[in-house]
């Protein structure tokens, strides 16, 4: 706690006594090392109770989170109560969901009843949403146990979680390094075995980049596949929630639990959720055409990243996939287009944080007018990166500049979608490194926004075009994880899991263990 003097973390002591539970099978090992699938199976089989799984996670949080600082709020009481109800229902023979009893960490950008929702911002300190985001509703309905809320770059703006108002999160592989961002808390919690699953959100790479630098599987589903209702908007046309997990199958299980049409979100699409869980289990990529994106390689890419990526491509070849080099010429313009569209939308989305109805209020001294209170609150409540983007976006939307900036960026977006469409005429999926470099040291890029923005070079095109994309761990460089990105056409999310599942299995076989086993003990 002393590391983070500004942290609002409420971390009640984890109860060590409670209802007697059977201690059989899985429960005798370290429950926190189990995958979500194994945890759910053990609970379903009666070998492990949901309360035990939850208590194990809470104990792990109590042990390591002072170091990692993934959590902003731990709801021990609520989690244990939910787990207890699940155990009772299982004992009564009631049907339970495929992830029943599995603990999960929620990115603090999703409105959640009974917990704070801060978005990593001072301006929402102490605010409690009076409603659940649809993702949260679905998780509760799936009998997932919500452990609490995890750290993030303020309003999901950043690639390192250093932009949180509540202090940085540390990478469990090397606690002097960043865990990626903006879903850094989600990634760190899963990589530190505080939770087998986490929800992140991805606007320009905010699930995939943290997954890559923390050695996890992270998926940005197709835009519109997962409801955005209750996801506090950064950039409405780009934001998408998705899973972070230690395995492709775990990610698929979580993906299936949260995806699906939601009438509360007009941009949610009413199409059947692809069979991602089955795809993850197939492990056969013979004849699958895999395109390597030429523009996402070369200068600026760390040699260790390139080497791990090349080795993974060889593995795919060995598995019978057909590797093709593909050009997507407009991907070069993705970054500038993104930094017009996302700030433009954010400048409007964040206008509601004005001290009038909720959240922080500064300067209400009985003399100041509403406008002055709004201004003082926003000055005090937003961090520098958020202000930078609000100013950028306000400028880009201004009368006389709209066509040159926002309008032009939307045209680039169309061109990038066409690049994808042309590529998918030749191949089934596209691949690239997820990030140009592995995790960098905390503080290394805080004063250089553009260097920070380059972390998302490879991930942004999928947000602009709306297609799904996954990052999965393919190796290490200097002891730090390297991620490979798989991209697929919109609504073909199952292809990510097909290719990812096969590649993961081959790499684990060759290595003899999951990559995460090589992470140093915390």
């Amino acid at each position: 706690m002393t590391d983070h003097p500004t942290s609002p973390v409420s971390r009640p002591a984890v109860p060590t006594t409670g209802a007697a539970v059977p201690t059989a099978g899985a429960a005798q090992g370290d429950v926190t090392r189990l995958t979500a699938a194994a945890t759910a199976a053990a609970i379903a089989a009666g070998e492990l109770s949901a309360v035990e799984a939850t208590r194990a996670a809470l104990e792990r949080i109590a042990k390591v989170d002072d170091t990692v600082h993934a959590f902003l709020h731990v709801d021990a009481e609520g989690a244990l109560a939910a787990a207890g109800r699940i155990d009772q229902r299982r004992a009564a023979g009631e049907p339970l969901g495929p992830l029943a009893g599995v603990p999960l960490a929620l990115k603090d950008v999703l409105a959640t009843r009974g917990m704070p929702t801060t978005c990593g911002s001072r301006i929402l300190e102490g605010w409690q949403a009076p409603y659940d985001a649809t993702v949260v509703t679905r998780l509760r309905a799936a009998d997932v146990v919500l452990l609490g809320k995890v750290n993030m770059d303020e309003f999901a703006m950043g690639s390192s979680t250093e932009n949180s108002a509540y202090g940085p999160t540390r990478n469990p592989w090397d606690t002097t390094r960043i865990p990626g961002g903006s879903s850094g808390g989600s990634a760190a919690a899963v990589a530190a075995f505080e939770a087998p699953l986490a929800i992140g959100t991805d606007t320009g790479g905010s699930i995939r980049q943290p997954a890559a630098v923390c050695g996890l599987v992270g998926v940005k589903p197709t835009y519109g596949a997962v409801s955005r209702y209750g996801l506090v908007a950064f950039s409405s046309s780009l934001d998408q929630a998705g899973p972070l997990a230690r395995t492709v199958t775990d990610a698929a299980l979580l993906h299936a639990a949260i995806a699906g049409h939601d009438p509360l979100d007009s941009t949610s699409v009413d199409v059947p959720v692809p069979s991602v869980v089955a795809a993850a289990a197939r492990r056969d990529v013979r004849g699958v055409r895999v395109g390597v994106v030429r523009e996402l390689s070369g200068e600026g890419y760390d040699p260790g990243v390139q080497a791990a990526f090349a080795a993974a491509v060889d593995t795919l070849t060995d598995l019978g996939a057909e590797i093709v080099e593909v050009s997507c010429p407009h991907f070069t313009y993705a970054m500038p287009a993104y930094y017009l569209i996302a700030p433009s939308e954010c400048s409007s989305n964040l206008a509601r944080f004005d001290a009038m109805r909720f959240g922080l209020r500064i300067g209400d001294d009985g003399q100041a007018g509403a406008e002055e209170v709004m201004s003082r609150t926003r000055e005090a409540g937003f961090g520098p990166e958020v202000k930078r983007r609000i100013i950028l976006g306000t400028y880009a939307l201004s009368s006389g500049y709209y066509d040159a900036y926002y309008g032009q960026a939307q045209k680039v977006r169309t061109l990038i979608s066409r690049d994808f469409a042309a590529a998918y005429e030749q191949v089934d999926v596209l691949i690239s490194p997820t990030t140009p470099t592995p995790a960098f040291p905390i503080g290394a890029k805080v004063d250089d926004p553009v260097a920070m923005y380059l972390s998302d070079l490879c991930t942004i095109p999928s947000n602009l075009a709306g297609g799904p994309a996954m990052s999965l761990p393919v190796g290490l460089t200097d002891g730090l994880p390297v991620g490979l990105q798989i991209m697929a056409p919109t609504f073909a999310d199952d292809r990510l899991y097909l290719v990812g599942g096969a590649l993961e299995a081959a790499l684990d076989d060759r290595r003899g263990h999951p990559l995460l086993d090589e992470a140093p003990a915390l």
Binding site: A111, T267, S347
Partner: protein, 506 residues
């Protein structure tokens, strides 16, 4: 200067009009009468306790998202069709960004360069002349909350100590109807708003109550010099926009005032400042609001939380086919079928009895003239006395139709009919029940009448003699005497006939 022109210093209106041509465009906001709000399921009822009809969406809470209310789209399309507009097969919502405490998200979801309806018109009749007013566009948007400024003397923000905001209105669906600058007089401006209100009322998509703010009008006014014969029209002058006119009378007065005010400035060689102005009904003047030159840049961009609205041709065609009879067509029909004059229609509409008269005729009134007469004179007055709308009176069109039939059949006089109306309004039942309950039927000759006639003749022999002598009109006082004796429950024409018969001159 521009705000101070006292009414007394203004030149004669006719003089102004002789030299300048007013150019007027109107923007009208209409609250649609949907059950729920534009983008959420909250109720829209007027007058509820503050902040009781709100939810995360219309409060703009973090994470909430809008979903378009289909009924609002349907209502907006109906208005567009009734105004002869083109309905866009594909259009989008846009965000209009500005900070104000009554705007929960600090942006309003509206439409910008892709409105739902474009390029229509409304014909307006003033003194028998038709003026066609072009409709530029009809677009959809959401209403704001309502600020209540507390502690000042005026209820305005100036001088207030604090403000309260009621978000019940936030998110109520609105359409904004924008005209071309086609209007050339305050009278036509008023008539346009009046006709538009009738049209929307006929569509049943809004209660269009100006006093409750469900129809609000902004008037754009500019002047240009009238060209000399043979010269082309002068270009439009700089306009002002007078906001939130909340009665037909205010529309006309505000426009008229602006015309005079601007003429003074132009005569003095000053320029008109493009600005927003407010109309003060109590003094009949407009005053300067915020200047457009320092106006907010609204930073419009397409609303990313909503998908484009793509209405199928079938959907629009179905709505077109469902349009009810519109006011102009109805007027033509009523004149043709019922023989009313245009003046009658205006009077009946202004009295709020036109629907009731038509229903009364349909319910079997003795004739359309009687139906009009009873509603327009007697019942409209009674409604006004009771401070209710005529339609809210207990008496029904069927009751009124029955009364006209009883009168025509000689069973009631007008005076008796008024007593029947008293009874119906007092809840004593149908007209027939009141007639029997109060014993109001005209007394036919059952001996009492003959006796009263004979008594009257006996009581005024000089008059009787005159009548016998051929002065039939002298019988009046005798009729009066009989009516008095009968306590009004007799038919004066029948009494007269009986008197003449008894006097041997029939």
């Amino acid at each position: 200067m521009s705000t101070a022109a006292p009414a007394s210093a203004l030149p004669s209106y006719d003089d102004v009009i002789a030299r300048y041509e007013p150019v007027i465009g109107l923007e009208t906001h209409v609250e649609l009468g949907t059950v729920s709000k534009m983008f959420c399921g909250c109720a829209t009822a007027f007058g509820a306790e503050p902040n009781t009809q709100v939810c995360p969406v219309c409060l703009g809470l973090p994470g909430s998202l809008p979903v378009v209310n289909e009924a609002a789209v349907r209502f907006a399309v109906l208005i567009g069709l009734a105004l002869h507009c083109d309905i866009a097969p594909w259009c989008r919502f846009a965000r209009k960004n500005y900070f104000y405490p009554d705007m929960p998200k600090n942006f309003q979801i509206s439409q910008y360069d892709e409105p739902l309806c474009t390029d229509g018109y409304l014909d307006v009749e003033v003194d028998g002349e038709i003026h066609r007013v072009g409709i530029t566009r009809v677009h959809m948007e959401e209403d704001t909350g309502k600020s209540l400024h507390v502690g000042g003397s005026t209820g305005r923000i100036h001088g207030a100590t604090h403000s309260l905001v009621d978000y019940n209105r936030a998110g109520i669906p609105l359409v904004e109807i924008v005209t071309e600058p086609d209007v050339r007089s305050p009278e036509v401006a008023r008539a346009y708003v009046d006709e538009l209100r009738e049209l929307i009322r006929a569509l049943g998509v809004s209660d269009v109550r100006m006093e409750q703010g469900s129809l609000r009008c902004d008037a754009n006014v500019s002047l240009r010099r009238r060209p000399a014969p043979g010269e082309p029209d002068a270009p439009f002058g700089t306009r002002t926009e007078t906001k939130n006119l909340n009665s037909l009378r205010s529309v006309e007065r505000a426009v008229r005032y602006e015309i005079s005010r601007q003429s003074v400035l132009l005569d003095d060689g000053e320029r008109i400042i493009q600005e927003t102005r407010h109309f003060d009904e109590s003094v009949g003047r407009t005053s300067s609001g915020r200047s457009k030159e320092e106006a907010t840049d609204y930073r419009y961009f397409p609303e990313p939380d909503l998908t484009p609205l793509a209405l199928s041709a079938e959907y629009v065609d179905e709505l077109r086919a469902s349009l009810p009879e519109l006011p102009a067509a109805r007027r033509v029909r009523l004149i043709a079928e019922h023989g009313y004059s245009a003046r009658d229609l205006v009077d009946m509409r202004n009295a709020g009895v036109l629907d009731l008269v038509e229903q009364t005729v349909a319910a079997g009134a003795a004739n359309p003239v009687a139906a009009r007469k009873w509603w327009l004179n007697e019942l409209a007055r009674r409604a006004a006395d009771a401070a209710v709308a005529p339609a809210d009176l207990v008496i029904t069109p069927a009751d009124v139709a029955r009364i006209t039939v009883l009168i025509a059949g000689g069973e009631l006089t007008d005076a008796l009919a008024r007593k029947v109306i008293d009874g119906v309004l007092a809840g004593e039942g149908t007209p027939d029940e009141v007639v029997s309950g109060r014993g109001l039927a005209i007394v036919a000759d059952d001996g009492a009448l003959t006796a009263a006639v004979d008594a009257a003749i006996a009581g005024a022999p000089d008059i009787a003699e005159k009548v016998r002598g051929g002065k039939l009109n002298a019988v009046g006082p005798l009729v009066g005497a009989v009516m008095k004796a009968m306590k009004g429950q007799a038919d004066p024409a029948g009494i007269r006939a009986l008197l003449l018969e008894r006097l041997g001159v029939s």
